[in-house]
């Protein structure tokens, strides 16, 4: 049921727009030249790139059925896409995206960010006339945005990506919740970020993250003093909707009842004149709990109801057969691949890795997940909707012999095993592989296929399936455990930029002792250096090319063995005109959805 949620391939890509905006112009080509979003088949079902954003009917209440509860609704903490359905309907970060695009639009900002020529300053001008919801009510100022970012360093809030994306702001390293030297607010509607390194593009990209959604200091401070902060239970909104609260501002117990429900009502202080969102719905009632098998049916047979998470596989099948108009498929929901230990054990030999890549029947694994409807066979590490995808080979990927046959090629596998020093074509060493997979469905079927493939290469395996929390937290994410094969790891970008797909997962510098996401412990000095260089490339085209090249090198190094590019399926009731967010696995966007 519940698994470590891959933080949404969310947020936003500041790709073309920002790069070009730095030069003063903006471009809004449909889709992204390098991202391949349109190349992926969505089976003829509706998808975020094909749905209409305007013309919806005003009014009505949407009921949302979600099996999983939220991780955190605090805009300064929220990091999983299960939280984003609420956060992005109630909070306005500096930049955000329209549903059918990965290009950001100014949200709280009034225009594109201004980046200095030395790449060390980012200036953003704010819209005027945006107000907080009751009980704060007053106009949002740059101070509020500054506080929102600063509180990320407060240990009571402990924003997970603060250091990654804002660590280069002057004073950020030592910050602990108080004012940060590098954040300047020259006037009520301007905010300037001074960086200690020339990483302006990265920071500018990161302004789509919810950490930048304004938080009123005088109201929130007393909550941020608590250990941990309970601002989430008293939060105010800047978006079209707000969590229902009482007169004192308390959300807990009304707008949010943990494990039971969340209720979004219209923010009376929101003005459509300051926003590009249509906000058709009057109210959104989110009901938590239950079981996906039942929820799926309730949605498909219902009217004004949706499910806003990945449905059960059986339900997706049912929808594809009998409720075609109520199914939406969205590409670019992330990847699944097999991490193998690059550092110790048989897989530290690149030829053994290539042998496994060749031997694996990726089409079978794809079928086990539900086939083309929900996944494409993965051939390299950047995925559709991520800029650089096409440059890295698109759907077909790099042409190397071990990548050519997704259904598996025993001859090629044998060739590489021989190259690795096993003349029989099968492993003859004494080491028993430790394989730890995810016991959820369908991951466990995929893990089984991997296990069988390993055996066919002559390995003996100790094969265990555990809960995803445990798999990541105790085994695969802990280098010391020396797990040989992790067949069920998954990844999705923080926002559509190739760095967020490859850096954390394949950079040797990213290896940490716990919570490690470079599961294979890939540590090739050449690749590490290339990544460091590519981090600071600010020209969009050059950036895409550089990261695509790194993707190629990872393929040539067989750093990990890919198997699937996820597409997410989402379902709606018959009276819902749902609009899904391309940047959020196609999950329904309350700002744009309406009832028929």
């Amino acid at each position: 049921m519940r698994s470590i949620r891959v933080p949404a391939a969310t947020a936003l890509a500041m790709t073309l727009v920002l790069a070009l905006a730095a030069c003063g112009s903006s471009s809004s080509g449909s889709g992204n030249s390098g991202s391949g979003a349109s190349a992926v088949s969505t089976g003829g079902f509706q998808s975020p790139t094909t749905q209409a954003l305007t013309g919806g009917k005003r009014g009505g209440t949407l009921v949302v059925l979600n099996e999983s509860d939220f991780e955190s609704l605090d805009p300064g903490v929220a990091y999983y896409n299960v939280d984003y359905e609420v956060v992005f309907a109630t909070q306005r970060p500096l930049y955000s995206q329209e549903p059918n695009s990965v290009e950001p639009s100014p949200d709280m900002a009034s225009g594109a960010p201004e980046v200095s020529s030395d790449e060390k300053t980012v200036t953003v001008h704010l819209r005027e006339g945006v107000h907080f919801s009751p009980p704060v009510n007053r106009e949002v100022t740059s101070e509020d945005v500054a506080y929102a970012i600063e509180r990320g360093a407060n240990e009571n809030v402990a924003n997970p990506y603060f250091q990654s994306y804002f660590g280069s702001v002057e004073g950020a390293e030592k910050a602990s919740g108080g004012p940060i030297k590098g954040i300047e607010t020259p006037n009520k509607h301007t905010i300037v970020l001074h960086l200690s390194e020339p990483k302006a593009q990265l920071v500018a990209h990161a302004l789509v993250l919810p950490l930048t959604a304004a938080v009123p200091r005088e109201y929130a401070q007393r909550f941020d003093k608590n250990k941990p902060s309970d601002y989430a239970n008293y939060q105010v909104a800047t978006g079209p909707y707000m969590l229902e609260n009482d007169a004192a501002g308390k959300v807990l117990g009304t707008g949010y009842i943990p494990g039971k429900s969340a209720t979004l009502v219209r923010n009376p202080n929101w003005s459509p004149k300051t926003d590009f969102r249509p906000a058709y719905l009057n109210e959104i009632d989110i009901k938590l709990g239950g079981t996906k098998a039942v929820i799926g049916r309730q949605v498909l047979e219902g009217t004004n109801v949706v499910e806003n998470e990945l449905p059960a596989q059986s339900i997706v099948k049912l929808a594809a057969e009998r409720y075609k108009s109520q199914l939406e498929i969205s590409p670019g929901a992330g990847t699944h691949y097999i991490a193998v230990n690059n550092k110790v054990g048989p897989f530290s030999n690149v030829d053994v890795r290539k042998a496994l890549w060749a031997a694996l029947d990726r089409t079978a694994m794809n079928k086990a997940r539900g086939g083309a409807l929900v996944a494409d066979v993965m051939t390299h590490f950047l995925y559709p909707t991520i800029p650089g995808f096409n440059q890295a080979g698109g759907l077909a990927g790099l042409k190397v012999d071990y990548n050519e046959h997704p259904e598996g090629d025993a001859a090629v596998a044998e060739k590489y095993m021989k190259l690795a020093g096993y003349p029989s074509g099968k492993y003859t060493g004494g080491h028993t592989l430790v394989v730890v997979g995810d016991r959820g469905n369908p991951l466990e079927q995929d893990a089984e296929i991997v296990n069988q493939t390993l055996k066919s290469l002559g390995f003996t395996t100790k094969f265990t399936l555990v809960e995803p929390n445990v798999m990541y937290g105790k085994y695969c994410g802990v280098p010391k455990e020396e797990i040989d094969v992790c067949p069920s790891v998954a990844w999705g970008a923080d926002f559509p930029d190739p760095q967020t797909v490859l850096d954390n997962t394949f950079n040797g510098k990213s290896i940490v002792s716990t919570g490690n996401n470079n599961w294979g412990q890939t540590n090739d000095p050449k690749i590490n250096a290339a990544m460091t260089a590519a981090e600071t490339i600010n020209d969009q085209a050059a950036r895409e090319a550089a990261w695509a090249k790194i993707d190629d090198e990872l393929v040539q190094d067989a750093a990990a063995i890919p198997f699937d590019w996820d597409k997410q399926a989402n379902i709606e009731g018959s009276a819902v005109r749902g609009v899904g967010d391309l940047w959020d696995s196609g999950e329904w966007d309350y700002n744009y959805s309406s009832l028929k």
Partner: protein
């Protein structure tokens, strides 16, 4: 008798402390997941994890954490706060408890009446068609997994997704004070599904127990006295029911600690689901709170059952 009760209660409290310690050991000394890490999301820097641990009090020594916790619980009735929602565990539990109590007690009534009724009839008409059907049916119900039965019930009778749209579907539970009729109708299917397994067990038990008691000498005396057969059966049931009552009390006590599967299928916001969710998110305080609650119910049920038994069977009374 009072001394006995007092002794049992004191021992019960001691047991609760032991349960506290055991849960603590299970979930902290052998952790399956670090809540600080979960909360920190992925790719957290160690610094962030440490910060969260410090904020949540997870960095103190285990014994300090334990003593702090025990002190809070037993002296201040403070069960701590959820790591995720920041709501106090006590209010989380008290919010969820009415649903579980409704579910358990309603099902309890059903299965006692149904189970005993069927059991008595079966015992009196041993080997008849009724008996065979009843015991066969009981076997099926006992073997059927609760979860599956619940799904079948929904797919057959739920107003939103069923074949015959009779009862409210999953997620329609409301508290009895907000809408008594909806509360009642939304609980009918869960009651039946939850009661089915137990009713079957009780029917078989009652049948066996009654068959045995009806062969006792005092039944012969009752007949020899010229009592109507219904009274004679009453004599038998009166004796046969004692072990059943004990079992009933214990089962209710166990179920009050949470009926996860039913609560999940029908989406009833009870403590069972709370317990399960807290385990998957490693929300320690909530886990501990729900475990303590469950332990308390079982301990209380045990004491009540012992007292009830002494009341029901004068031969075992403590002087």
């Amino acid at each position: 008798m009072t001394a006995y009760i007092v002794r049992r209660v004191l021992w019960g409290i001691a047991l609760l402390v032991i349960v506290c310690a055991l849960t603590f050991v299970l979930f902290r000394v052998f952790p399956t997941a670090n809540p600080a890490q979960l909360r920190a999301g992925r790719s957290p820097q160690p610094k962030v994890i440490h910060e969260i641990e410090r904020v949540l009090g997870l960095n103190k020594s285990l014994s300090t954490q334990f003593f702090d916790y025990v002190k809070n619980v037993f002296l201040h009735f403070n069960l701590g706060y959820s790591y995720y929602s920041d709501e106090s565990v006590r209010s989380l539990i008290s919010e969820r408890l009415p649903a579980t109590i409704s579910l358990t007690l309603g099902a309890g009534v059903l299965w006692i009446v149904g189970g005993l009724g069927v059991g008595i009839l079966s015992a009196l008409r041993r080997h008849s068609l009724l008996d065979r059907l009843a015991m066969g049916g009981a076997l099926v119900l006992v073997s059927a997994p609760e979860f599956w039965l619940g799904l079948i019930a929904l797919f057959l009778f739920a107003q939103d997704i069923g074949q015959w749209r009779i009862f409210p579907g999953a997620g329609s539970y409301v508290g009895i004070t907000s809408d008594p009729w909806q509360w009642f109708t939304s609980m009918i299917m869960p009651w039946f599904v939850l009661a089915s397994g137990s009713a079957a067990v009780f029917a078989r038990l009652m049948r066996g127990s009654l068959i045995e008691t009806m062969g006792e000498d005092y039944i012969r005396t009752a007949r020899a006295k010229g009592l109507a057969e219904r009274r004679v059966v009453r004599h038998g049931v009166r004796s046969a029911i004692n072990p059943i009552v004990t079992l009933f009390g214990l089962e209710i006590g166990t179920l009050l600690g949470g009926t996860v599967l039913i609560e999940t299928v029908f989406n009833i916001p009870g403590v069972g689901r709370l317990a399960y969710d807290s385990i998957t998110t490693a929300d320690f305080s909530v886990i501990q709170g729900t475990v303590l609650l469950a332990a308390m119910f079982i301990i209380v049920a045990n004491i009540v059952v012992d007292i009830a038994y002494a009341y029901l069977d004068p031969r075992v009374r403590y002087s």
